[in-house]
């Protein structure tokens, strides 16, 4: 059942009979019997004391809400509005409000016009053959009423949810001796790879720059080293370096060795801690690898 505006009736003093006590109008209520609602009672709520009308109007959220009220209080189905009767009631509210010179939202008047238009379309005689194909003139209004009503209900549902500061309260217990904690920066793998890509690119340029001057490149040096290791047996690690090439040359050699190691082309062995390193071309079963295996 639809939620209705909160209205309370406070009987203040006995007063004259309602001016708008409308006579029974069964003729306009074709489904009244179906709904088991005594038709004669329908218009009774139309009388509202003038001083209360403004408040009454405020209780509605607009013309759709007022229409829903008119429909629901008679236990009628939205899908089957007795349009003539509902329109008549709606118009009376509007007229009354205008008589009382209440400021009326424009939407109420637009709805009045809409209702009048639908009513007139329903009164127009239609050829029997067209009845099936033509949409009920009320359809659009019915759709709007339903759509509004479902959100009216949704609003009530949301209001009924247990919410903070009304039904539940969040809790808190202070920490009196708070310390300063620095958040650790977050890094994505992609960020790191992009950084690496750049350092690689830069070092290639670096190498390239020196290649022109010193004719050195890592790839070349890798080949040189592999060539030097072609004969079986070990070569002392230090013998692979040529100090006369300078710091850059030594570095290129070193990078070449690392690259070869990474690619599994050479083994570097060391008899014991701090003993001289020896290098040889990769063997099927390498002896001591200097590289401590990552426990992964």
């Amino acid at each position: 059942m639809a939620r209705r505006p909160d209205l309370k009736v406070v009987v203040s003093n006995p007063a004259p009979a309602p001016v708008h006590d409308a006579a029974p109008e069964q003729a306009e209520m074709p489904f009244a019997v179906v709904n088991g609602e005594p038709v004669s009672q329908l218009p009774r709520d139309l009388y509202i004391p003038p001083q209360a009308l403004e408040v009454f109007l405020e209780a509605f959220e607009g013309p759709l809400d007022l229409l829903l009220y008119l429909i629901r209080r008679q236990n009628l189905d939205i899908l089957d509005i007795p349009l003539a009767e509902i329109t008549r009631q709606y118009m009376r509210y509007i007229e009354l409000m205008q008589e009382l010179q209440l400021e009326l939202a424009g939407e109420y008047l637009v709805m009045a016009a809409t209702l009048a238009e639908i009513k007139s379309r329903m009164l127009l005689p239609r050829p029997k053959s067209d009845v099936a194909s033509e949409e009920d003139p009320r359809a659009e209004l019915v759709r709007r009423l339903q759509e509004y009503e479902r959100f009216k209900r949704a609003a009530a549902d949301i209001d009924a949810l247990p919410r903070l500061e009304r039904d539940v309260w969040s809790t808190s217990a202070p920490l009196t001796q708070r310390r300063v904690v620095r958040a650790l920066p977050q890094v994505t793998l992609q960020e790191m790879l992009v950084a690496f890509q750049e350092v690689v690119a830069r070092s290639q340029m670096f190498a390239h720059h020196h290649v022109q001057r010193e004719r050195l490149s890592v790839g070349e040096r890798m080949s040189d080293i592999l060539a030097a290791l072609r004969s079986p047996g070990f070569v002392a690690f230090v013998e692979l370096f040529r100090p006369e090439e300078g710091r850059m040359g030594v570095t290129v050699t070193f990078v070449a060795i690392l690259e070869l190691m990474r690619e599994g082309l050479i083994d570097i062995v060391q008899a014991e801690a701090y003993a001289p390193l020896h290098v040889r071309a990769a063997q099927p079963a390498p002896a001591l690898r200097l590289v401590e295996e990552e426990p992964s």
Binding site: M1, S12, L164
Partner: protein, 244 residues
């Protein structure tokens, strides 16, 4: 990791935070990397806490932003006495607007007005944005580029929801032809009233949580309005709209 220690830290953190704490933040309380408890351990700690709150005045609740400890609704009458001045009622206009934003997001103000059939007071939009329940998430690509409104995590947290899926279901729309058909059939026999009564009952049932409340109100109102008789009646709006 020691279970009691884990549970103690989690409980203290939830209480210290004073707001929902996501699982990831709970994990980070224990440091980095290998020191962190696993998700299973954390969930077990939360379950243990929830168990410990059975029969107490507080409970553990998961909402959109994470886990929080909250006072049980059963104690609302007592606890609300801590803040007698606080009133948190919202007008029907605000709630309807909020409902439309929640169910139809992203939505423009004009679209809200189209459904409600009445202009939306700008104060309402301002209020829900100031409460951080609603935010502007973009602009509709139509003339005027109206703002698109959507609900926030805070909205979900405030109403104790984990996600929008947990909103009460919207009532179904029914097609006119359905009932016209029913009427046509029912009109032939005496079963008409029953059929329609059923129909009505179905409709009413759709608005689940609020149904009872609404019905109670309806009943009351029915009595009041029809009891009017010949006496003059003064209508007084109940204090429903404290803010607007």
């Amino acid at each position: 990791m020691n279970e009691t220690y884990l549970r103690n830290v989690v409980e203290a953190a939830l209480l210290a935070a004073g707001a929902p704490v996501p699982l990831a933040d709970l994990a980070r309380l224990f440091g980095e990397g290998a020191q962190q408890p696993g998700v299973d351990e954390l969930r077990a700690a939360l379950a243990a806490l929830a168990g410990g709150y059975e029969g107490r005045g507080i409970e553990l609740k998961e909402t959109a932003s994470g886990w929080r400890v909250q006072v049980r609704p059963e104690l609302a009458p007592e606890i609300s006495r801590l803040w007698p001045e606080r009133t948190t009622r919202y007008s029907r206009a605000l709630l309807e607007t909020l409902a439309l934003i929640a169910y139809r997001q992203p939505i423009t103000r004009a679209e809200i007005e189209a459904v409600r059939g009445v202009a939306v007071n700008p104060n309402i939009i301002r209020t829900v944005i100031e409460r951080n329940w609603v935010r502007v998430v973009g602009h509709r690509d139509v003339p005027g580029h109206p703002e698109l409104l959507a609900t926030t995590r805070d909205f979900l947290d405030y109403f104790g929801l984990k996600s929008l899926d947990q909103l009460p279901p919207l009532a179904e729309l029914r097609a006119m032809s359905d009932v016209n058909l029913q009427l046509a059939l029912a009109g032939e026999g005496g079963a008409t009233a029953a059929a329609l009564a059923d129909e009505d009952a179905t409709t009413a049932g759709e608005a689940a949580p609020a149904a009872a409340e609404a019905d109670a109100e309806d009943a009351g109102e029915e009595d009041e309005l029809s009891a009017e008789g010949g006496a003059s009646a003064e209508l007084v709006a109940a204090p429903r709209h404290p803010e607007y």
